[in-house]
């Protein structure tokens, strides 16, 4: 059908909104609440902010471009005085109930409200009056400053529709309406699992990570401490975005240099621990499969991965009856911490209390994970401080490092060596693919032809693949986004699931879209590029199977013995309880 937008005649399909039709013609109508990422099936379209209003000929009032479908012969104007005045007035209203804290706000420069206000040329706020105030809420992972909330509903959509968690939704009404928890409980006591997807989509500074940079700086400046750092796989393909690199660019080498310049004593890599995770979790999986093949009916299958702390807490809070399905293997972050404090510290002759382990994670749930009591030994946490990718970028800036100009360097030994299997931990399907590479070879005692399990890859919310383990079909399931995961969990509960293993990453797309990553601001392409970046990093690696990592082999030989040995169980495994 034909529509005319700003005097340009366009041919559009039925069901296309004015917003999308205009975008096709290069007309960028401003939006605020609207966020639609086809890649992740995320659609927040409440039509609530009314910033995108346009004038439609023959219509009494202005139309929200994001929620109005084009009709045959429709004539639309996107910048008449009436439209501009309405947009500015609505923006002034939003600003009239928003703190004037831009200069000190964590979101400054990355704030959608700020960007749109700048674009609209707001120079004063004509409407002033009462403002809403809410108590600040800080969980281990997330800070909620609802004074900055503009009720765009993005967090509600992420928390309810994508994650199925239901911690945040609209409460109160009128001027006091706000995204809140049930009975206004603190996040910690709510259904929240710390996934941080609310933070990832929040347009303002209302939701942000609980910051821990200052603790890192203090540790770095304490002469009694040896400080080691471990950046997670997904960090290397996202950090560059903060410094003007192409989305998805792998900046592992520059990052290692930056971490060294900041002053970390040893620059290691969580990827090393990811390989270790495969050894432990893979062994656990094969053990269960072998028992099941021998007819043991008590074996809990499918085995569910446990790398993602938000997913683990989700199971503990929402499906406590099925905790036995979770792998007992700790996450790579925590395996790294345990090995650093119990193996590496001894190796360099440092008391574990004087070794500070810092993790750089794409995630805010990791902040919570390292505070779990079972992740400490005699009150000393295996991982002391966890910061996000965004916080690392801030730290790099504060340390006056010109990131773009940095030379590349390698991670340190012995906890810096990793395989291609480890780096794909950061994208949905990556953990199960890495596990399959090792499990296949251990189970069949044969060498894999191709290590690329294409059937497992992709962004579909729930994926299932069967892999032939030399005559034994092994069925693998993958889910990302907790609402998708719940679909598989329901099947397990109903006894209708014949899968052997299920990989779950709480965040849609996996860690590449973690709550601690540089903001995608609704651009799904950025996430796809991060995923592609990880697969490219895998393909570039000489060694692509975890069990072939020489430093992992050495670790078992020198210290742990075999996977799932008594010492491995003690250091690298954990237990769960109803929360």
């Amino acid at each position: 059908m034909k529509v005319t937008i700003d005097n340009r005649v366009l041919e559009v399909e039925k069901g296309v909104t004015i917003l999308d039709a205009a975008a096709q013609a290069g007309i960028k109508i401003p939006t605020l609440c609207h966020m639609h990422m086809h890649e992740l099936n995320y659609a927040n379209k409440p039509g609530a902010c009314r910033i995108c209003v346009v004038e439609v000929e023959g219509r009494r009032n202005l139309a929200p471009a994001c929620k109005t479908d084009c009709t045959e012969g429709m004539v639309v104007y996107t910048h008449t005085p009436r439209v501009l005045n309405a947009r500015r007035t609505v923006m002034e209203l939003l600003l009239s109930n928003h703190p004037d804290e831009c200069l000190t706000c964590v979101k400054s420069g990355r704030c959608d409200l700020q960007s749109v206000a700048i674009d609209l040329g707001i120079r004063k706020v004509s409407y002033q009056g009462a403002t809403t105030h809410f108590e600040m809420d800080k969980s281990a992972s997330i800070v909620r400053n609802m004074d900055k909330c503009i009720s765009c509903r993005r967090c509600e959509t992420a928390c309810n529709e994508i994650q199925g968690v239901g911690a945040l939704s609209a409460t109160n009404r009128g001027f006091g309406a706000i995204m809140g928890t049930a009975f206004e409980k603190p996040l910690t006591d709510s259904e929240c699992v710390n996934c941080g997807q609310c933070v990832a989509v929040c347009p303002t500074g209302a939701l942000s990570e609980n910051p821990h940079i200052d603790e890192v700086i203090a540790a770095l400046n304490d002469p009694t401490k040896t400080v080691v750092v471990q950046p997670a796989p997904a960090v290397r393909v996202a950090l560059g975005q903060e410094f003007g690199c192409e989305p998805g660019a792998n900046v592992a080498g520059k990052m290692a240099t930056a971490l060294r310049q900041i002053g970390f004593d040893h620059v290691f890599d969580t990827d090393f621990a990811a390989d270790l995770t495969i050894m432990e979790e893979g062994t656990e999986l094969l053990g269960r499969i072998e028992k099941a093949l021998k007819g043991d009916k008590s074996v809990k299958l499918p085995l569910m991965t446990s790398c993602c702390p938000a997913w683990v807490l989700y199971m503990e809070k929402h499906n406590p009856d099925l905790l036995a399905h979770l792998s007992s293997a700790r996450s790579p972050q925590q395996m790294f911490g345990a090995i650093a404090k119990n193996y590496f510290a001894k190796k360099i002759g440092v008391d574990r209390k004087d070794l500070i382990v810092v993790s750089v994670m794409p995630c805010v749930a990791k902040k919570y994970e390292c505070k779990r009591p079972e992740m400490s030994t005699n009150g000393d946490p295996d991982v002391n401080i966890s910061i996000t990718t965004r916080e690392l970028a801030r730290l790099i800036r504060q340390y006056n490092i010109d990131f773009a100009k940095l030379p590349e360097s390698e991670f340190d030994s012995p906890l810096g060596e990793s395989t291609g299997a480890a780096v794909i931990f950061g994208v949905t399907g990556g953990v199960i693919e890495a596990a399959a590479r090792t499990a296949y070879e251990v189970f069949t005692k044969k060498t894999l032809g191709s290590v690329d399990f294409q059937a497992i890859r992709g962004f579909d919310g729930v994926r299932v693949a069967t892999i032939d383990f030399n005559g034994t079909p092994i069925k693998l399931g993958i889910a990302h986004g907790l609402a998708n995961a719940q679909k598989l969990v329901d099947l397990v509960r109903e006894g209708k699931c014949d899968l052997h293993a299920i990989e779950v990453m709480a965040c849609p797309g996996g860690c590449i879209d973690g709550g601690g990553q540089p903001f995608h601001r609704g651009n799904g392409e950025i996430l796809a590029k991060r995923g592609a970046g990880l697969y490219a990093a895998d393909a570039d690696k000489k060694i692509r199977k975890s069990h072939e990592n020489p430093d992992i082999q050495k670790l078992y030989k020198e210290f742990l013995g075999t996977p799932c040995s008594e010492l491995s169980e003690q250091l690298l495994h954990t237990h769960y309880s109803k929360k």
């Binding site: 039509g47 609530a48 202005l62 609505v90 409407y127 009720s151 109160n172 001027f175």
Partner: protein
């Protein structure tokens, strides 16, 4: 009371005939010319000679009509009149200000402000001896004349009751009374017609939604019918939320069966088998009556499977609202029924296409449904002959404010505001001067003197800057400040906004704050400009009907009473002397006799003076409560 199963058209006709015969005397008493003794003698009704109708609407119920009813039972027993006099608890008579109301048939004697203690006298004097109790008759405020019966009361004379046809007349808890008044005849007729033809009748009748929007009802039915789906819903919107409006409540309390029948007709026409009534939980009496009516209809098999022996099956459930104004908006209502937060969503899709749980859903308001059976029975032409060119039929209004006769009225579309206010409403209270009339509730606007002669209909009210709304009509006199009126409505909207869209959530709050500033005399002309701009932007950008219409009270008062706004802003003066911050009380020393009455009654001791000497008011202490004015016998206190 055991009810028979009515499983076929002949069985229904038989039942109606029997009930109508029992009801014959009551029906005759309704005739303009009344009923003669001769006619009564020849009747084969239920055997009673007189009927005592006691109002059982919420208003009279709250004023103890239940005890009045009980006392009638005792007194009638005592006087041995059981066989001659029947007591009926009816729904609302509409003249709520005069309640509790007791009406005697067949002579239509209309007793007002009846107390339980009056009952004995009514029974002994009137029912037993035929002498009306003069002191309890309605007194015409203009002449002081006692009105012998309701037919001569101006309040009723101009009314045409279609939606309210059974209210205050039948026992709403007895389906037989409904049968007697052609109840279910419309459904029977419809079930023998093609749904398309029924819808065509509604379209030709020109019935428009009575909930406020005025959308053509037949068209809505047609759209719902044409959407292909095995599951469809009929929803009755009984979430009446306008302050002071009680049209729907009265219909549900006084004639619940008509709504059940109309919803069934709608179900047959649109292809829906499920009916839902969304009613606010704060209407307990209406809920109670609906529950009884639904149970009786089910007992008669007029709800359930194979109604009247046809293939048509239909049943109704109640859904309770928590009293949020926005849930009267149909999309918010649907969200609320689904168990979600009651918030509107952007249309399209319209509920007729995708509504409750994603199924096609026909949402109509109570009063709209109440008009359906009469249209079916009397035809589209009859209905279209009432009213104006584009607005057919009647409209029920809750008439309130500074008029003599406050209550519920039903008038043909096209009746002028003047007729409603000065004839039915009996003019302005206390002989004061008419200033404005607010129609349409918080979504409507204030009309003034120059609008008094416009015929009331959907389009005329919108053209004048207000709207029909669901039927609230509040009359204001010279003592009402129009800025304060706008502020009152904004206060309501701010409270009732769901908070979803920014213009309504924040904009209305700012509108209220600006109005507050104006009433306190600290606003500037720039504020006034901002007020007008903001009101227009909210109207232009808000998500739902509530938000889009919420600035109407501001815009209409700005249009019709701009000078009052300017008086507040420029002169720091409230012409109606209502805005306390702008009012000054002073004592005219020439008139003051020094009686000390004002000083003794001032709650804050703001008045000083000695006996027989002129007093003075300290404006710094004065709280402008006005108690001195009412105490002064010499008119010495001036307010400016």
């Amino acid at each position: 009371m055991a009810l028979p199963i009515i499983a076929s058209f002949p069985e229904l006709a038989e039942m109606q005939k029997k009930c109508a015969a029992d009801f014959a005397l009551r029906e005759l008493s309704n005739r303009p010319e009344g009923v003669t003794a001769e006619e009564i003698k020849n009747l084969h009704n239920d055997g009673f000679e007189q009927y005592v109708l006691v109002c059982g609407g919420t208003g009279c119920h709250a004023s103890n009509s239940a005890e009045i009813l009980k006392n009638f039972e005792v007194a009638i027993e005592k006087h041995g009149l059981n066989k001659k006099v029947k007591i009926v608890r009816t729904g609302c008579f509409g003249f709520c200000e005069q309640g509790p109301i007791v009406k005697i048939l067949p002579d239509n004697t209309f007793y007002v402000h009846v107390t339980p203690e009056d009952v004995e006298e009514i029974v002994a004097s009137h029912l037993e001896s035929g002498n009306k109790v003069e002191r309890l008759l309605y007194v015409l405020p203009t002449t002081g004349e006692h009105m012998p019966d309701s037919k001569h009361m101006p309040f009723y004379k101009k009314q045409v009751r279609i939606a309210l046809r059974n209210c205050g007349f039948i026992d709403p808890e007895n389906i037989n009374d409904y049968f007697a008044r052609r109840g279910y005849e419309a459904l029977a007729k419809v079930l023998q017609m093609k749904p398309e033809d029924v819808i065509q009748t509604i379209i030709e009748a020109g019935l428009r939604g009575r909930g406020g929007g005025g959308f053509p009802t037949g068209q809505k039915w047609k759209i719902t019918r044409e959407v292909q789906n095995d599951t469809k819903y009929v929803v009755c919107n009984a979430d009446e939320g306008d302050p002071g409006a009680f049209m729907d409540r009265s219909i549900l309390e006084g004639d619940p069966f008509s709504i059940i029948e109309a919803m069934s007709i709608n179900g047959y026409c649109t292809g829906a088998n499920h009916g839902l009534i969304y009613i606010r939980a704060e209407y307990p009496l209406a809920i109670h009556r609906l529950e009884i009516a639904i149970a009786q209809a089910r007992e008669c098999h007029l709800l359930g499977n194979n109604i009247l022996g046809t293939n048509f099956s239909f049943d109704i459930e109640l859904r309770y609202g928590a009293g949020a104004f926005v849930c009267g908006e149909e999309t918010a209502l649907i969200r609320s029924m689904e168990g979600h937060r009651g918030e509107p969503y952007v249309k399209p899709p319209f509920p007729s296409v995708r509504g409750y749980k994603g199924y096609p859903t026909n949402v109509n308001n109570v009063e709209t449904f109440a008009n359906i059976p009469p249209i079916i029975l009397n035809g589209a032409k009859w209905f279209a002959s009432i009213g104006t060119e584009k607005s057919h039929g009647t409209k029920v209004f809750a008439l309130a404010g500074k008029v003599n006769n406050v209550g519920l009225i039903e008038v043909p579309m096209g009746t002028t505001l003047r007729q409603v206010i000065f004839e039915i409403g009996g003019g302005i209270k206390g002989g004061k001067k008419f200033k404005a009339v607010q129609t349409g509730g918080p979504s409507g606007g204030c009309l003034c003197e120059k609008h008094l002669d416009i015929p009331i209909d959907y389009d005329n009210l919108i053209a004048a800057g207000s709207m029909m709304g669901s039927g609230g009509m509040i009359v204001m006199d010279e003592d009402n400040c129009m800025v304060a009126v706008a502020k009152f409505y904004l206060d309501f909207t701010v409270e009732e906004s769901c908070g979803k869209c920014a213009p309504c959530r924040i904009g209305n709050k700012r509108l209220y704050e600006l109005l507050d500033k104006i009433t306190k005399g600290c606003a500037t002309m720039e504020d006034l400009e901002n007020l007008e701009n903001l009101a227009k932007v909210i109207k232009d950008t808000a998500l739902c009907g509530l938000g889009q219409t919420s600035p109407n009270p501001v815009l209409s008062t700005l249009l019709n009473f701009r000078d009052e706004y300017i008086a507040h802003v420029v002169d720091h003066r409230c012409p109606a002397h209502q805005c306390t911050s702008l009012v000054r009380y002073s004592i005219d020393p020439a008139k003051c006799k020094g009686c000390t009455a004002c000083a003794r009654n001032c709650p804050v001791n703001a008045i000083s003076g000695t006996v027989k000497n002129p007093h003075t008011i300290d404006p710094a202490v004065c709280i402008r409560c006005g108690s001195c004015v009412s105490r002064c016998k010499f008119g010495a206190i001036t307010v400016e």
